[in-house]
């Protein structure tokens, strides 16, 4: 399941909902991405972050990435939640949860979802600080991370 929303999410409640009523799940992995006050930008502390996205394409892209993860690993459930709008340091940005019978599948799938989301889902971050606003630049390390999953039927 995928969701894009302005409101916050509750990690515990999302995990509980995904597992609810199931006794065949053995492993649940969650990744929560949050706003850091020191984002390594040269302009100093971040006081606010604004997330813009491409409505329509974002949903399509996240569903495609989730479907690819489900094709590669035997998942019993998966979830991607991404916030848009204006956020503060410490706020949640993104949540990925994967459930599987075994931990390797849950770990690999969660990491795959994050790596692909970072490089393929049409979101853009703008950071605000004491010295002004700045669009966050894409990191080459994210591109490199995504390529580790490449194969013929990759979600490229």
């Amino acid at each position: 399941m995928i969701r894009i929303q302005t409101q916050d999410f509750d990690v515990g409640a999302e995990i509980a909902a995904l597992r609810s009523g199931r006794t065949d799940v053995g492993a649940v992995v969650s990744f929560t991405g949050t706003v850091r006050d020191q984002a390594g930008q040269e302009m100093g502390d971040v006081t606010e972050m604004t997330l813009e996205h491409y409505p329509g394409m974002t949903e399509t892209e996240l569903e495609r990435i989730e479907a690819e993860a489900n094709k590669r690993w035997p998942l019993q459930a998966s979830l991607i939640v991404h916030r848009v709008g204006t956020l503060k340091p410490g706020n949640n940005i993104v949540l990925v949860v994967t459930a599987s019978a075994h931990r390797d599948a849950a770990f690999d799938a969660a990491r795959f979802l994050m790596d692909y989301l970072k490089t393929h889902a049409p979101f853009w971050k703008r950071e605000s600080g004491p010295s002004g606003d700045k669009w966050v630049e894409a990191k080459e390390s994210d591109e490199a991370a995504a390529t580790r999953w490449s194969r013929n039927n990759a979600a490229e």
Partner: protein
């Protein structure tokens, strides 16, 4: 054809969306960018470093050599930075 701009591409162009009549000899994303750059200084500025700009044709990531065909919607944006 509907064109969309996001993040700093949108800021430089000065608007988020527009309907355009694309000349018939514009066949690829690269050619569309080249044509857009002739439409005014804001476009020339926004697409100055064309190689860093990403495109989506009908909401699917597309390379600059991709054909635009009879696409209804083409979007231009910087490399994504979500997550």
């Amino acid at each position: 054809m509907r064109l969309l701009y996001f993040a700093w591409v949108k800021e430089k162009v000065g608007h988020a969306a527009e309907e355009v009549e694309v000349p018939g000899d514009v066949a690829t994303v690269a050619e569309l960018i080249a044509w857009l750059k002739t439409r005014g200084p804001e476009f020339a500025h926004a697409f100055e470093r064309a190689e860093v700009i990403r495109a989506a044709v009908d909401q699917t990531h597309a390379r600059h050599d991709a054909k635009i065909g009879d696409a209804r919607e083409i979007a231009f944006f910087p490399p994504v930075t979500g997550g």
